[in-house]
Amino acid sequence: MVAERLAEIVGDKHVLSRQSELLVYNSDGLPGYRRQPRLAVFPGTREETIAVVRFLADEGLPFVPRGAGTGLSGGALADDIVVVGLHRLKKIISLDIENRRATVEPGVVNLRLNKHVAPHGLLYAPDPSSEAACTIGGNVAENAGGPHCLKYGVTLNHVLAMTVILPSGEIVELGSRVGERDGYDLRGAFIGSEGCFGLALDVTVKLTPKPQTVRTILADFTSVNQAAQVTSAIIASGIVPAALEFMDGATIRVVEDSIYAAGYPRDAEAILLIELDGLEAGVTADLESVRRICIDGGARNVRVARDDAERMKLWQGRKKAFGAMGRLAPHLIVQDAVIPRTKLPQILATIHDISEKYRVMVCNVFHAGDGNLHPNIAYSADDPSESERVHKAMVEIMQACIAAGGSITGEHGVGLDKMGYMESIFSETSLNAMCELRGVFDPQHRSNPGKVVPIHSCKEWHGVPGRAKREQEAAPLEAEPSHPVAT
């Protein structure tokens, strides 16, 4: 019934309701979690999207907005409810070269936007490693970052305005396309709301002029600690690199064994990938400073990429590192904690100890410049003993990061994955304040229910939205087996 009604809006072939067809949508980029959606609908235009959301509102049905499904927090999973996939909304609506801004539909992929604006000497700065697949709408939902957000800031710093459809079906404009507005920063509140506040119909982003010069440096070390100390020294020097990335020995070797081999030294225990950009004269001076800091800090080699091809190769190894992990084992668990940058040496030592204690191989590849760790473990979820050790190791790593004064997530979002940690960093009252904010955008908690803030933290809200109504529906679409969490 629901599927038929949705098909009337978007066309038969854009509604999936068979279990086999929906398999693709039962996980995101973090394969440890699986939830089977009840059905998936893919509107192709703004009007269809509005009609779909309004239909779901009229029926009181909960739903999960989804972009490319590259997220790493289990945030785009739909547990027996409707997935609203937005990847067909991929129009670049307008481009204002003079004022350096573009308005796009939510399904536009980062890389495509970048290709579109590159001929004008512009770029869209946020560059999550999944930039070849992920969408601007997903970026907005997660407040996505990427290596270059060290200098250029995260999605929030690059979105000027949005047209948003609230779960009620009401359409609102957040932010301003022409200037600065007073009143509450609803645009700021919406970005990073992980699909819990509604979905964006269009997004106006700021474009950044391409820097005059870009230099990429590869420094390699025989100890993790040295690389961590050098990271702190570069940050303390006042130089703001465009990116400052860290890969440990285990990661280097996995990448070098893969098709993404970048020519990293296989015998190094750590490398730093440091990018400087800006005016030629300034970059050249900073390059010398960085080289000196690296060598003083014990770097074995400091190599500067000679041309764009070499630069791209160095970056490809970094950006595809998670993909390369697929060589080790079928499943990958990755964390996203952020720690104060001075705590890097200490935390990396702690992670090493934890990995030995639980006999798991932790690979570290992360945004060192802002202290955003991505410890990851490749494992087989089919092996219960290994799964348990991996899970325990990850919990201990997270606890160590929290104890160091860190945050549980820097760019991947809370989703399902980190919800259990929210109470470790926020009080009940603070979590309730977040619930109240959500309640203003989505009083019934119908948009991406059960994510980000644990439901029991919400004083005014204890029900599971829509479930009662769903259960009363006369003709269920199909009998759905339950899918336990595989972590």
């Binding site: 003079e98 600065e180 009143g183 005059q212 952020v338």
Partner: protein, 385 residues
């Protein structure tokens, strides 16, 4: 007073059904709409550093700490908080964030909300809430730091904030360029500066009256500030010399510029697309209206109209690229059209009722206000609610 003391003061007001006027140092209490509250909650004693880790470039302070105190503490470690709102530097960080006040450095270092990493605040029920954290990148939970910044105290009282610092640049130089020539020539200079690969820390255009008030002579001027390593600054100064005849000034000129509002009764901030502002800058700088100081940040697309005269002429000044609307003594928001936005920073008390509907009249803003301050005890009336 502690956070607990503030929470208790708020709960007392809820019980007594009275409003609270929240004040930092009280240097700018006439900004925003008049507040209907009998009691003042002063954060003047809520000052001091809670935690400063220079290696992390983060600083946590109580909200009543002044910007000048932050400057002193961080300068000892060759760092700074690049936040230079218009006004006196003895204003508090809490007030700066609550009002989202920014200055010329914002075009390079971002708005106040970009420098706020985390905060503690007390809502209108007297509950203490923490949001964000002490690290430079954080997406844990919904972004209450953004929401609170610029909320004028109506969602909660800031008690403690964690800020992102920067290392002081090795070189920090400021230049002034005379813009007294014909409009066409001025526009050409501005276009050359704005479209060049120069990346100044700050770029500000002052009308003749503003320049005069800042002690910079009798012509409109462009102030430009370069920071970074020696080579980067030298290269930019060289590029600036190609298009103009800059004269170097001491960096303290920016303190004088920030105080252009000092004796004004009205400050109106217009914003529009940057190129539109550039296109109209020369005219706006040359159209001298008595008592009106105009201050333009072309990269942010901001025009500040500051009025210290006897007749509220600021309200009649022409908005960006619009024909003069001299007939309208008071312009409502919509008169400016969709090509620009307007923010009334400060107006005479009697003028507020005439300028526009409340800025938090939309259902979402109203819902948030009602959730965080259900009894409307926090700065009632300041946003027109």
């Amino acid at each position: 007073m502690s956070t607990a003391g503030i929470a208790s003061a708020i709960r007392d007001c809820v019980a007594a059904k009275t409003g609270l006027r929240i004040a930092g140092r009280g240097t700018w209490l006439d900004a925003g709409r008049p507040v209907s509250a009998n009691t003042t909650l002063s954060l003047n004693d809520e000052r001091g550093v809670v935690s400063y880790v220079p290696g992390d470039l983060t600083l946590t302070v109580r909200a009543g700490t002044t910007l000048a105190e932050i400057t002193d503490v961080t300068a000892q470690r060759d760092q700074w908080l690049p936040l230079d709102p218009f006004g006196w530097p003895d204003g508090t960080i809490g007030a700066t964030l609550a009002t989202a006040s920014a200055g010329p450095l914002a075009s390079s270092f971002g708005l106040p909300r970009d420098l706020l990493l985390g905060l503690e605040f007390v809502n209108g029920r007297g509950e203490t809430i923490r949001a964000g954290g002490r690290v430079v990148k954080n997406v844990a939970g919904f972004d209450l730091s953004r929401l609170l910044t610029g909320s004028w105290g109506t969602l909660g009282v800031f008690t403690e904030v964690t800020l992102r610092l920067y290392a002081r640049p090795a070189v920090d130089r400021t230049f002034v360029v005379d813009l007294g020539g014909p409009e066409k020539q001025v526009t050409a200079i501005l276009r050359a500066i704005v479209t060049s690969p120069l990346s100044p820390y700050a770029l500000l255009l002052l009308s003749a009256s503003a320049a005069r008030a800042a002690g910079l002579g009798e012509s409109p001027v462009c102030l430009i500030r370069f920071g970074g390593n020696e080579a980067a600054v030298r290269a930019q100064v060289g590029a600036l010399l190609q298009v103009s005849r800059p004269v170097e000034l001491e960096t303290k000129i920016w303190l004088a510029v920030r105080q252009l509002d000092g004796d004004a009764h009205s400050t109106i901030r217009l914003s529009s697309l940057p190129q539109r502002v550039v296109a109209h800058s020369a005219r706006m700088l040359h159209d001298e209206v008595p008592f009106i100081r105009t201050c333009i940040d072309p990269r942010r697309g901001i025009v500040r109209i500051i009025d210290s005269g006897p007749h509220n002429t600021a309200l009649q000044a022409s908005p960006v690229g619009q024909p003069d609307q001299t007939d309208d003594r008071f312009l409502s928001r919509d008169d400016y059209g969709k090509s620009s936005e307007v923010i009334f920073e400060r107006l005479p008390a009697e003028a507020w009722s005439q300028v526009s509907p409340t800025v938090v009249s939309d259902p979402l803003s109203r819902g948030i206000r009602n959730a965080y301050d259900p009894h409307h005890v926090l700065n009632p009336g300041i946003l027109g609610d």
